[in-house]
C-alpha cells in the first residue's frame, strides 16, 4: 500500500524528531502520537464516515483524515486555506509546516499539533478511542473546518488537495502504525496539562455558545449551523477531558449533565404546557393591549399561588381530619347544639355559614385537640399551626421572588423626561395589539400624546391660576379624607351594631348581613366618588392614576382594619364570656354526674356520657372570626360578579339594542360601553387575597373557596371583557405595573400577617373548640412536640435557644448583618454608577472612532450581517459563515481560544528555536516546509510532533 511507503518516510522524520523530543522532554508527546496512531487506525475509518455526512465533501476516509489535520491547523490559528496551499506543494513540505506548527503549539497542544500534521487523521481516531483529547480536538476542528475545507476544495483545487491529502494521510497512517507498534504503551498519558486546559476551555466555550446561541442576533440558518458544529465539537471532545481514574468519573459527570439538561428541557416543555389560559389571555391581549392582559396574568399568578396554598391546607389539615379524625357528632365541638338543630339546615342559616356549616371542617372549631390522630399518628394540631404559618411563609417568599425577578426584567431606569419623544416614537406601539378597534384607539392615543408633548414643549408651563388650582387640590384632598374617615366610622358603627344584633333573634336579612353589604357598597361607591373628586385636581392622567390607586388602597385598608379592630373588640368580649361559660359548663358537668349518681344511688356507677348536643359550649371566637371572613369573601364575590353583570353586561345589552330606537347615539354618546377597570380589579384581587390570608387560619375552607372564586372569575371576566367592554380610549401603560401590583400585594400580605400572628401569640385559644383547646397559647403545641417527641437534649437545646441571653446577641447579629449588607449594596450601587459612567464614556469614544473607521463593534458587525443586502445570497449563509469566521464574534469560543493559544504557543516556541531549527531542516523535504510556513512559527514544534512517530 502506498501508505507503507509513506510510512517509511515518516519513520525517517520521526527519528529526527525523536532526537529532539528526547532532548526536550517530549516523551509525553511521543506517547500521544503513538496512541493516536494506534487509535487512528481503528478509528480513522469510523471518523471518516461520521464526518462525511457533516462535511459532504469527503468521499474517502483518506480525505477525511486530511481534513483532520487542517482542523488542527485552524486551531493553531493558521488559516486553513494557506495551509492547504502549502500542502499542495509537497508532501514533505506539508509535513514540515505541520510540524512547525505543532512545535509552536507544543507545550499546550504539542500532542495535538504533532498528531495533526502527519498522523492527524489517524491520531484523532486514536484519541477518540482512548478518550484522548488530541484526537477529539482534531475532530472538532475538522468539523468546524469541514465546511471551509469543503468549500475551499470545491472552489480552488479540490482535486489537488485531495491528492495531497491522500498522500498525507497515507504518510500519517504509516507513521502512526509504526509509532503505535513502537510506542503504543507510552501513549497512556495522552494529554499534557496545558492541552487539557486548552481543550477544556474550548469545550467550555462551545458549551457556552450552545447555551447562548439563541441570544445571538444571527440568522436562523447560521445559528443552526453553528449549533451543529459546536455540539459535534463538544460531543467529540468532552469525553477526552479528565484523565486516569478521573476520566470515568468525568465521563459520568458529563453524561449526567447531559441527561440533566435534557430533563430540564422536557420539564420546561411540560411546565409551559401546563400553564393554563395562554390562549385566552392572548386573545384578551390582542383586543385590549398589554395593560388589560396584565390583570389577567396577575389573576393567573394568584390562582397558581392559591392552588399551592390550597394543596397545603387540604392535604395536611382538612383531609387528615376528615379521614382520620373523629366523625361528626362524636364530640360536642363536632355537633350542632340542641337548640340550633331545628334550624341548622335552613337555607338562610347555611348561607350565613351557621348551622351545619359552622360545625364542619371549614372552620377552626371543628378540629379536635387530640395530639395524634389515626393509625399514622398524624399530629394534627401541630400540622395545623405549621400550615397556618407556612401559608404566610410561602406567600412571602413567592411574592418577594416574583418581585425580584420582575425587577430584573424591568430595566427602565431612565429619568422621566430624558427621552420623552424618542421613547414615544420607539416604544409606544404595543406589538401585541391585533384588533382593529384597539389599534385605532392606540393610534389616536399616540397621536394625542404626541400633540400633548408638543404643546408641553412649546409652552413649558402654562400657569393660569395657580391659587385656584391649589385651592381645588386642597379641597379635593379634604373631601377625600372626609369620605375615608366616614367610611371607616361607618364600618365601625356597623360592626358594633352587629354585635348588638347578635344577641337578638328577630333579625331581618338585611340586619344579619349589614356589615358585608355596607363594606361591599363602600368598595363600590367610593372609587367612582374619588374619581369624580379627583377631577377637581386636574392632574396629569398618569399622576392622577397613582393618586386614585393610593386612595382606593387607603380606603380598602382602612375598612379592613376598622373591621379587624371591631372584630377584636368582639373577640375580647367573647373571651370574657367564655370564662363564665367555662365555669358553667364544668358546673353543669358536675351537676350531671351528681344527679346521675344520686338518681342511681350508686356513687360507683359511671354515668353514660352526656349527649354531645347538650353540652354547654363556649362562644369559640376563632370560628366566629372565620365566619366573618368567609362571609366577607362570599359577599365580595357576589358583589363583584353582580357588578360585572349589571354594570357591564346589562349596560352593554341596553346600549347595543336600545340604540336602534333612541334619540341619540348610545354607543358613541353618554352611556356607551364600559371600559375594563384595571386598577379597581387589581386592587379588589389584592384585598381579596388579604382577606384570604387573614381568614385562612380560622377557616381552612376559605382557601378552597378562594380557588373556586379565582377559577370562575378567570372565565367569567374573560368572557365579560371580551363581550361587553371596549378598549380603553387612553390605553395607559402597563409598564412596571406588575411590580406595582406585587408591591401592593406584599404590603397587604404584611398587614394581614400582623393580626394573625398577634392572635396566635397572645390570645388564649377557646377552651372547648379547635385544635389548640386546653392550651394556654396556640404555640404551646410546638413546645409540647419538642418536649414529648424529640429527644430530651433537643428540649434543653431549645430552652437554651430561647434564653434571652442568646436571643439578644442573635438579634444584634442580625442587625449587624443587615447593616453590613446594606453598606455592601451601597458600595455595589456606587460601583454600578461608576461602571455606567465608564460605559457611557467608552460608548462615546467608540462613536468617535466609528465616525472615522468602519464599524469595529461586534454587534455592529452582526447587524451588518443581518442587512438584507449581504444576506441576499442565501446559499453562502449556511456554509459561508464558517469560512471567513466560524468565530466572527468575540464570543465565539473556538476563535478566541485559538487566538490565545497561538500566541502562547509562539511564545513558548521561541525560546527553543535553536534546538528545533536544525532538526526541522535536517530532513530535506521538511526543511522547505518551514520556509513556506512563516505563520505557524518555529519549526521546532513540528519537530517535536515528529518525535513520536520515529519511535
Amino acid at each position: 500500500m502506498p501508505r507503507k511507503s509513506d510510512a517509511a518516510k515518516m519513520d525517517e522524520v520521526g527519528i529526527e524528531i525523536d532526537g529532539e523530543v528526547s532532548d526536550s522532554d517530549d516523551g509525553v508527546a511521543q506517547r500521544r502520537n503513538n496512541r493516536r496512531q494506534a487509535a487512528g487506525r481503528g478509528g480513522a475509518k469510523g471518523r471518516g464516515r461520521g464526518k462525511k455526512p457533516a462535511s459532504d465533501d469527503e468521499d474517502e476516509a483518506d480525505e477525511e483524515e486530511d481534513e483532520a489535520p487542517r482542523g488542527r491547523r485552524g486551531a493553531n490559528k493558521k488559516k486553513p486555506a494557506k495551509k492547504r496551499g502549502d500542502d499542495d506543494d509537497d508532501d514533505s513540505e506539508d509535513e514540515a509546516p505541520k510540524r512547525k506548527r505543532g512545535g509552536a503549539a507544543n507545550k499546550k497542544k504539542g500532542g495535538k499539533a504533532q498528531d495533526s500534521d502527519e498522523e492527524d487523521s489517524d491520531a484523532p481516531k486514536g484519541k477518540k478511542g482512548r478518550g484522548g483529547k488530541g484526537g477529539k480536538k482534531g475532530e472538532k476542528e475538522e468539523e468546524e473546518t469541514k465546511g471551509k475545507k469543503g468549500d475551499a476544495k470545491g472552489k480552488d483545487k479540490g482535486k489537488d488537495k485531495d491528492d495531497d491529502k491522500d498522500k498525507k494521510k497515507k504518510k500519517k497512517k504509516d507513521d502512526s502504525s509504526s509509532d503505535s507498534s513502537s510506542n503504543s504503551d507510552e501513549e497512556e498519558e495522552s494529554m499534557s496539562e496545558g492541552e487539557m486546559a486548552r481543550l477544556m476551555e474550548e469545550v467550555e466555550e462551545k458549551k457556552k455558545l450552545i447555551a447562548n446561541i439563541r441570544n445571538k442576533p444571527w440568522r436562523m440558518k447560521r445559528r443552526l449551523t453553528h449549533l451543529k458544529e459546536a455540539q459535534a465539537f463538544v460531543d467529540k471532545f468532552e469525553g477526552a477531558l479528565g484523565k486516569g481514574k478521573g476520566r470515568k468519573w468525568y465521563a459520568y459527570k458529563v453524561m449526567m449533565t447531559k441527561k440533566w439538561i435534557k430533563f430540564q428541557r422536557d420539564f420546561e416543555n411540560f411546565r409551559t404546557a401546563c400553564i393554563p389560559w395562554e390562549r385566552k389571555i392572548k386573545e384578551v391581549e390582542s383586543h385590549f393591549g398589554s395593560s388589560v392582559a396584565s390583570y389577567f396574568i396577575f389573576l393567573r399568578w394568584m390562582y397558581g399561588m392559591n392552588l399551592v396554598l390550597f394543596g397545603f391546607t387540604f392535604g395536611l389539615v382538612v383531609i387528615p381530619e376528615v379521614l382520620m379524625g373523629l366523625p361528626y357528632g362524636s364530640i360536642p365541638r363536632k355537633t350542632v347544639p340542641r337548640e340550633e338543630q331545628d334550624t341548622a339546615q335552613d337555607y338562610s342559616v347555611l348561607m350565613d355559614f351557621n348551622g351545619y356549616c359552622k360545625y364542619s371542617v371549614l372552620f377552626y372549631g371543628f378540629y379536635n385537640n387530640e395530639r395524634t390522630i389515626g393509625l399514622l399518628k398524624f399530629r394534627l394540631p401541630l400540622s395545623y399551626l405549621m400550615v397556618g404559618i407556612g401559608t404566610f411563609g410561602y406567600s412571602l417568599m413567592l411574592v418577594i421572588r416574583t418581585m425580584a425577578k420582575n425587577a430584573d426584567v424591568g430595566g427602565g431606569d431612565g429619568e422621566e423626561g430624558e427621552f420623552t419623544f424618542a421613547w414615544k416614537m420607539f416604544t409606544s406601539w404595543d406589538y401585541l395589539i391585533g384588533n382593529a378597534e384597539t389599534a385605532d384607539n392606540k393610534y389616536a392615543s399616540i397621536t394625542t400624546s404626541f400633540k400633548e408633548s408638543i404643546v408641553d414643549e412649546q409652552e413649558n408651563q402654562k400657569d393660569e391660576n395657580i391659587h385656584l388650582r391649589r385651592f381645588l387640590r386642597v379641597l379635593a384632598n379634604f373631601l377625600i379624607t372626609c369620605s375615608l374617615g366616614g367610611s371607616g366610622y361607618l364600618i365601625y358603627f356597623v360592626v358594633k351594631r352587629s354585635q348588638e344584633f347578635a344577641t337578638r333573634d328577630d333579625l331581618s336579612w338585611y340586619e344579619k348581613n349589614e356589615l358585608e353589604i355596607i363594606m361591599s357598597l363602600l368598595g363600590l361607591v367610593c372609587p367612582p366618588l374619588f374619581e369624580t373628586i379627583a377631577e377637581l385636581e386636574d392632574y396629569h392622567p398618569r399622576i392622577g392614576l397613582k393618586w386614585q390607586l393610593g386612595r382606593i388602597f387607603a380606603l380598602f385598608l382602612g375598612n379592613l382594619y376598622t373591621f379587624l379592630f371591631a372584630l377584636f373588640d368582639e373577640v375580647n368580649t367573647k373571651l370574657e364570656e367564655e370564662q363564665a361559660i367555662k365555669n358553667a359548663s364544668i358546673y353543669a358537668m358536675k351537676e350531671y354526674y351528681a344527679n346521675y349518681s344520686r338518681l342511681m344511688n350508686d356513687s360507683e356507677a359511671t354515668p353514660p356520657p352526656m349527649d354531645p348536643a347538650d353540652v354547654i359550649r363556649g362562644p369559640c371566637w376563632e370560628t366566629a372570626v372565620g365566619i366573618e371572613f368567609v362571609k366577607l369573601t362570599v359577599s365580595d364575590i357576589q358583589v363583584s360578579y353582580l357588578t360585572i353583570l349589571i354594570g357591564d353586561f346589562a349596560r352593554a345589552v341596553i346600549v347595543r339594542f336600545l340604540n336602534y330606537c333612541w334619540c341619540w347615539d348610545l354607543e358613541a354618546g353618554f352611556p356607551s360601553y364600559g371600559e375594563f377597570d384595571i386598577s379597581g380589579n387589581v386592587l379588589g384581587l389584592v384585598f381579596n387575597q388579604g382577606m384570604i390570608w387573614m381568614g385562612a387560619f380560622y377557616a381552612p375552607g376559605l382557601v378552597g373557596i378562594n380557588v373556586l372564586r379565582l377559577l370562575s372569575s378567570m372565565y367569567y371576566q374573560c368572557w365579560a371583557v371580551m363581550a361587553t367592554n371596549v378598549p380603553h380610549e387612553r390605553v395607559f401603560k402597563a409598564s412596571k405595573s406588575n411590580n406595582f401590583y406585587m408591591g401592593l400585594l406584599l404590603l397587604v400580605l404584611f398587614l394581614s400577617l400582623l393580626p394573625v400572628v398577634y392572635t396566635i401569640m397572645t390570645l388564649p385559644p377557646s377552651f372547648d373548640c379547635g385544635p389548640f383547646s386546653g392550651k394556654s397559647k396556640m404555640f404551646d403545641v410546638v413546645m409540647e412536640t419538642i418536649d414529648l417527641d424529640l429527644p430530651a437534649f433537643m428540649g434543653t437545646l431549645f430552652s437554651y435557644a430561647a434564653n434571652p441571653g442568646l436571643i439578644i446577641p442573635a438579634v444584634l447579629l442580625m442587625v449587624l448583618a443587615i447593616y453590613y449588607l446594606n453598606s455592601v449594596s451601597e458600595a455595589y450601587k456606587n460601583s454600578n454608577m461608576e461602571l455606567k459612567k465608564k460605559m457611557q464614556m467608552a460608548r462615546d469614544e467608540e462613536k468617535n472612532r466609528r465616525n472615522n473607521t468602519d464599524s469595529t463593534n461586534q454587534v455592529m458587525k452582526d447587524l451588518e450581517d443581518l442587512l438584507p443586502n449581504r444576506s441576499l445570497a442565501p446559499p453562502p449563509e449556511p456554509e459561508k459563515p464558517p469560512e471567513p469566521e466560524p468565530k466572527p464574534t468575540k464570543t465565539k469560543p473556538g476563535a478566541a481560544g485559538k487566538g490565545v493559544d497561538l500566541q502562547k504557543d509562539v511564545a513558548l516556541a521561541s525560546p527553543n528555536p535553536n534546538a528545533r531549527g536544525p532538526v526541522s531542516r535536517a530532513p530535506g523535504p521538511r526543511g522547505q516546509g518551514p520556509g513556506p510556513r512563516p505563520g505557524p512559527g518555529p519549526g521546532p514544534g513540528r519537530g517535536r510532533g515528529r518525535g513520536p512517530p520515529p519511535r
Binding site: 436562523m220 427602565g412 427621552f419 406601539w429 391585533g434 414643549e457 447587524l863 441576499l872
Partner: protein, 187 residues
Amino acid sequence: MGNKQTTFTDEQLEAFQDCTFFTRKEILRLHGRYRELAPHLVPLDYTNNPDIRVPLALIVTMPELKENPFRDRIVQTFSEDGQGNLSFNDFVDMFSALCETSPRDLKTIYAFKIYDFNRDNFICKDDLQQTLNLLTKGELTEDEVLLVCDKALEEADLDGDSKLSFSDFQNMISKAPDFLSNFHIRI
C-alpha cells in the same frame, strides 16, 4: 412523539429549541401557523428542510401582525433576502426574537433594524419621519412631524451627527420603561 405524521425529527426540534426561546410544542404550533398561511406551498413534512419561502403579502395577514404599523418592516427585517419572503427558519426566528423571554439586547438589535427603514445602519431623520407617520397614521402636520423628529434626535443623538447610531439607540432604549412590555408578540 406519537404524531401520526412527523413534521420535524427530534433532532430538528432539539436544535430549534436550542436556537430559539420556544418549547417543542410552540415550534410545532408555529409550523402550523406557518403552514396555514400557504397550505399549498408549505409541506407538512419538514424533516428534510425544504427551501420554501412564503411571501410578505401572506405573512402580514397574520392576526398578530395585521394591525401593526411596522408589519412590513418587521417581516423584511427577518427575511433573509430582505424582500420579505420568509422561510420557516426566518419565521421562527422572527417570533423567537419577539417573544416574551427573549432578552432586551436581542430585542434592541432587531428593533433597531426594524426602525432603520433605509437599511443604512443609522436611524436618520427620514426613518424617524416614516416611523412617526406610521405611528400616527399621518395625523400630525408636517411641522409637528419635523418638530418631533428634531426633538427625538436631540434627545437621543449623543454624538451629534443628527442620526441615531445603534449605540445611541441602545442607550435610549435601555432606559425605556415600556420597551420590553410592548416590543413583544405572543404566538
